[in-house]
Structure formats: C-alpha cells, structure tokens
Symmetry: C2
Subunit: 408 residues, 2 copies
C-alpha cells in the first residue's frame, strides 16, 4: 500500500538559511532574497513541481553563541541579514493557485489582537492557503533585542503560548458567525451586529476585550504547524498542531519521535493520524548516482564549516568555536532546544561523530538526512523512509535553492 | 509661479473607509477589498493617473462611541471588518514602478525591533517606495483590545513615540554601514562584522540590545508621515515628519495649520519647507459642472448618516446617537483628538452647521472639503487652494473608490 507523500519546501527570507557557504557557488543567487521576483520564481517552480507547500522559517535574533559574539554569524550570513517572512507571501500567492504557505511567527513579539488580524488577512489574500508555525522563540539574543535580560523560561513560554492560542481560537472561530456579513444593498446592513460576538479574555498573561477586526477568512484558523521537540513541545503539538516537523538523521530516531507525537495527540483526545509529520531531509539528484555524488562533492567545496558550527552553537547553546574538528560531539542534555547535535549523537550508538563531521554534514544537509542519487535512487529511498518509519507521511525538503538547480 | 502639486490617494484595507453608505451603489465593489487583484487594479490605475502615492489608513479598534456599542459600526461597516494594511503593499508594488505607499502603523502594538525589520523589508521589496504614517493610537477600543483598561494618556503616548523613533533611527541608520555587505565569493565574507554596530538602548519605555536584522534598504528610514493635529502632534511632526496631513474644510483654516506646522518644523532646526503638507479633499468630476453635481446627488442617495455619525462619534469621543439632526454642532474642546467636527464649526463663524449637515458632508467628503465640477473647474479650484494657502504643496485625495469611477 503506497502512502501519499506531502512535500513542503523549507526556506527563509534571508541570504543563507541552512546551507552554509553555498552562496559562494558561482551560480548562486542568494542576494536576490530582497526582491519580489526572486520569491515569485521560487513559488512558481514549486507549484510546477507539485509541491504542497513552502515553509518559511524565521528567527528574530542572531546566532551569537559561537565565539560569544555575532561576528561568525555575520561573516557567513548565518540567517542574518534576514527580512520579515509574512510580506513575501502575498506576491507569491498572486502567481500560484494551490501552493500552501507555512510561516513562522513568534508569539512572543506581537500582541494576540493584531497578530490574529495579520493571519486572517493572509488567509483572505491567499484564499485559504496559509499556515502558521507557532514558535515561542529560542534565542537569548532575540529576547535581549526585545528588552528582556534573557528569554522567558521554557515552561513559562509554553504556558504563555497556551493562553495565546486560546485567544486566537476565540478571535478566529468564536467572534464572527458564518453569515454575519450580509452586505445587503436593500436593507443597508453590511454586518449583522447580532452575529458578531466580542471576545472577552482575562487571563494570566493577556487581557483582551474586543471584536476580531477581520471578517471570517476561508480557513478561519490557519493550518497550524509546530516544531518543538521537547516534551512540552510535543504536548503542545498534540493539542494544537496539524503539521509537525521532526528532523532526525535516521529512520529509527524518526520512528520513535513519530510514536511519541501520535501518543501526545491521542492524549489530547484527537486521532493520532490528525497530525501530518514532516521529516526534514535534503535531496541531491543527478542523472545517475555517480553524477549526484559529483554534485554533492562540488557543493561541499563551498561549504563553510564556521557557518555550520555557528548554527550548531546557536541550536545547542554550546560555543563550538574552541573545539577541535576531530573532537567527538557529546550528547547534549538540553530539553529546551532543538538540539540538532543530539540527533546525530544518539542516532547510531556505534558511530562517533566528530565536530568536523557534523559541521560538514550540516553545511549541506542541515540537521536532517541527506539523500543523494539518481531520481530512482532518491525516490526509492524516500519510499523506504515513509514505510519504515510507519507513520511518517510527509517530507520537508530543505532547499539548496541558492544553486542553479533550485529544488535539488 | 505654478507650484508642483503632489497627489496621494487615501484608502484603507477595509470595506468602508470614509464614504459611508456608498457601498450600496449598484456598481460598488467594496467587498473585493479582501483580494490581491482588487488592490493591484487600484495601484495600476493610480500609477497610470500619475499619482505620487497611495496612503493607507489603519485603525486597530472599533468605532464604538456611537450608542456606546459596536452595532452601528458593524451595521454600516465603518472601518470594520478591516485587514492588515502592510500585506497588500508588496503585490501592489509588484505591478507598479513609481507609485509610493504610505502605511499607517501604530507603534503602540508592536515592539520596535520587529517593527523596524517589517518596514525595512517593505523598503527592500518596494525598492524604496515605502512610507510610514506614525500613529500612537486614539481609540479606547483599540487599547482595550490590547489589554489595557483605557488608552495611555495623550502626552505619554508622544513621549513613548519619541523614544520609539530614537530606536528606529538607531536601527535603520546607525547599525549597518553602507558597505557592510561585501558578499565576496573569494574571501568568503558575506558581511563585514566590523561594519555592523549593535544597538544598545536603555530608556524609559524600551530596552534593546541587538543588531538590526535587515541589511540597509534603499531608503533606510522610510518616508515619515504624521497626522496628529494637536500641539504635541505638531511638535512631533516638526521633529520627524516629511509629510503631514492637514484636513481642513476651508482655505483659511488650512493656512493657519500650515503656518503652525512650518513654525514647529523651524523650531526643531529644520527648514519650514522640509515638510510636504497634504490637504485632504474629495473631488467629484463630471463632463460639465452640472453633470458633476448630478453625480454628487446620485452618491448622496446612498449616503449613510448613521455611518457618518458613527465616524464623528469615534473622532470626537461624543456619542451623537441621541442628537437631533437639526441640532447645531458645538465646538468640541478636545486637544487629544483629530476633531473633525471642530474643523467644521470653527471654519466659518457665520455658519452654524447642524449635526445632520455635518453627517451629510462626511458621508461623501469625509472631513475635508468637497470639490465638485468639470475637470477645468476642479483644476482651478485645486490651484486656488494651493496658492491661497500659500505653503500648501500637496493634496490628499479621498477615494470614493467603491463606485465605478474609482478616482473621481
């Protein structure tokens, strides 16, 4: 029995997302991320390629753990400079018909009332093709930029997130009845006031008293994404998410993550299948397996290990700037982060990864698996991932988009 | 000596902006405000008509003073439902080349750090065609929606705004040097860290420590608009604004406003001419003067006095729901509001406006003057406004856009 696989592309409104150093490739066009045309071309290509969605990451801070400053992040353009992800979606929606858009939005930096309107507006403009990746922020630098001395504790962030979501549902689902907008030229009634119900919320972290500003959009609540890998994150996903990212370097680790997520969903009284789990991976496709390997070798020539270690440091909270590349990477106990490094070190007890090897992998494949080969090889491998992880039903493709073949 | 007149169109991402009731016109298309194509058609038309800019108002609250509830605002769709103004700008920029975009953004509801990036992103995407109308919020309902019991005091709001602007300039102008982005494929240096200077701000209302996330955009600081008519507002405009709105029903009142604004600008050490002052007005043009008057009469058949009074109540803070239409409108002493009604009552000491007359005018002309006639009549009248107000050099045209002739 073949499962239908959903495909999301993974990108960010920035010069260098995850593939560190590849902007140096002679045909690279990463500098065009500031233009509307760049994103429209990408969206058109994805739609032609029958992708289900484009997922846009966002980080409102700097990766300044490496070397305890922002120098390496800047030198390698590690997700900085970066621009707002929401603003590129309407022009992409304008040139596509069925492509979905998942946008990362941190609920730490925008009040619920205006954020709810922003998402509703996008849902109107895209005609119901928008999703929201709910994040609570994980970089200290982002918290400092917003005026805090450090970020709010991990558990508190999820408590805040729960209350934020409660308000979102009230605004999106509970405020305007389906037929509240009458727009009747005869009676002169545009909106029937008896079908609009003000939201009153008096909680621990938020107070709100008002009418949602937007009329009901095609989806009302956008598709909800979640990526938190911690137990709190999984509970949150079980309650709210329709799509979850689970980046794991091996099928075994992914299978275990998938099981936990299905269980967390069932604990919240939902069917385990109500979540689509996206395993993150990078594909490099060539005419033959050998040609694909050559392509990989060519890409690796441009890889920046410093950039990769800067990412790793930001993800793990550990400064890798003083590490020897031949040093083995240790398993990091840190529930509050998406510890990409954890995933390497626990994936295969028989293999000891060195700092340099992880850096080399991340620079081209990010923190997920890298699949290299002919179209047939890659397709077979994808099928195996889907079958062997039992319940994984979706794939998130990391884009090495800055190179000429934008989706390979 | 002829002055060059700048033209801005005035609109809002909502069903009914100011022209109350005109959505009932048989050819009206106000319901399409939720679509990308609607805004692109408007932008194209404005560019063809050689407009300098499109100015987008925004209100993050409900006009609930009239009758002490939101019923009349909803019934007449008085600026509700409304959507986010920022998200319609990129698709409009995509189909135009020189049209500018002035967007209303309240600094009360978004932290400086992410707001600065949002504006920089728009400046990149529009290739330097974006402006920001700085507002501090004036509806109690908006403050309540954001969790306050009522809005912050007027003077405090301007203190907060001053500090907010200080941070904006630091992020936009002081953080990235012009040549910080090297993007050198040979050296592997994308950004030169020594040319990026973290912003440290420890003020009364905000703390911030971080690097502006966006690289320098074409304008860096967007064109700054301001509309506050109070003395605090004029001081603020004198310090920051490049464009100011001054809606006044007579040339005499506008002349006085213009003088005050020029003086406020000079007090801040800037040339009085460094501000472009936009007088708000509505034009109705016909083949002949008589035909234009017929058009006005036709529009007035659809005008909603209840909608107009709902606007007036929101602007003035006075509930007009119990007023007799024949009652004279009294001069309202309220420095903290843009008292549209003030402008009527003080404009001509010899005329006593009734509540009904003001409502009738506002429903088609908003709070500015209404100029009706053939193209020649209207052009002459515009020229007189410019010459007789001495220093007024710009005109903001209210769009009766929902009717077939979108810019008439």
């Amino acid at each position: 029995m073949k499962k239908k696989i959903l495909f999301n592309a993974f990108d960010m409104n920035t010069a260098v997302h995850q593939s560190q150093g590849l902007w140096r490739h002679p045909n690279d066009r990463s500098g065009e991320y500031k233009s509307i045309k760049y994103w429209q071309n990408l969206a058109r290509k994805l739609e032609e390629g029958m992708f289900d969605g484009l997922f846009l990451a966002d980080v409102t801070g700097i990766y300044d753990v490496y070397g305890s400053n922002a120098d390496a992040a800047l030198r390698n353009a590690v997700q900085v400079p970066s621009n707002d992800p929401f603003l590129i979606v309407p022009p992409m929606a304008d040139v596509t018909k069925h492509l979905g858009f998942g946008i990362t939005g941190s609920l730490t930096y925008e009040p619920p009332y205006t954020f709810a309107r922003k998402m509703s507006t996008l849902d109107h403009l895209t005609n119901g093709r928008v999703g929201w990746n709910i994040v609570t922020g994980y970089l200290n630098s982002a918290a400092k930029a917003a005026g805090a001395t450090s970020q709010t504790g991990h558990d508190t962030r999820y408590e805040i997130a729960e209350e934020y979501m409660e308000i979102m549902y009230k605004l999106w689902e509970g405020c305007w009845e389906d037929d509240a907008v009458e727009r009747n030229r005869e009676t002169g009634i545009y909106v029937n006031p008896s079908k609009v119900h003000p939201v009153e919320h008096d909680g621990t972290y938020f107070r709100l008293n008002g009418i949602h500003l937007s009329e009901p959009s095609p989806q009302r609540t956008p598709v909800l994404y979640q990526a938190g890998a911690s137990s709190k994150g999984q509970t949150f996903a079980g309650r709210h998410a329709e799509c979850v990212f689970a980046s794991s370097p091996t099928k075994k680790v992914l299978t275990s993550t998938v099981k936990k997520l299905r269980a967390a969903t069932q604990e919240q009284g939902r069917s385990g299948d109500s979540i689509a789990i996206f395993g993150m991976m990078t594909l490099i496709v060539g005419g033959t397996d050998a040609q694909a390997q050559e392509k990989l070798a060519e890409y690796r020539k441009y890889a920046s290990h410093e950039g990769a270690l800067t990412l790793m440091s930001g993800w793990s909270g550990i400064d890798f700037s003083s590490c020897d590349p031949n040093e083995p990477v240790k398993h990091i106990k840190n529930d509050s982060m998406q510890t990409a490094i954890d995933r390497f070190t626990i994936s295969d007890p028989n293999r000891v990864w060195t700092v340099g090897e992880v850096a080399e992998h991340i620079a081209v494949g990010g923190s997920g698996p890298l699949i290299v080969g002919s179209a047939e090889t890659v397709a077979n491998e994808l099928q195996q991932w889907v079958e062997e992880t039992a319940s994984m039903d979706s794939i998130l493709l990391m884009l090495l988009r800055r190179t000429p073949s934008t989706t390979s």
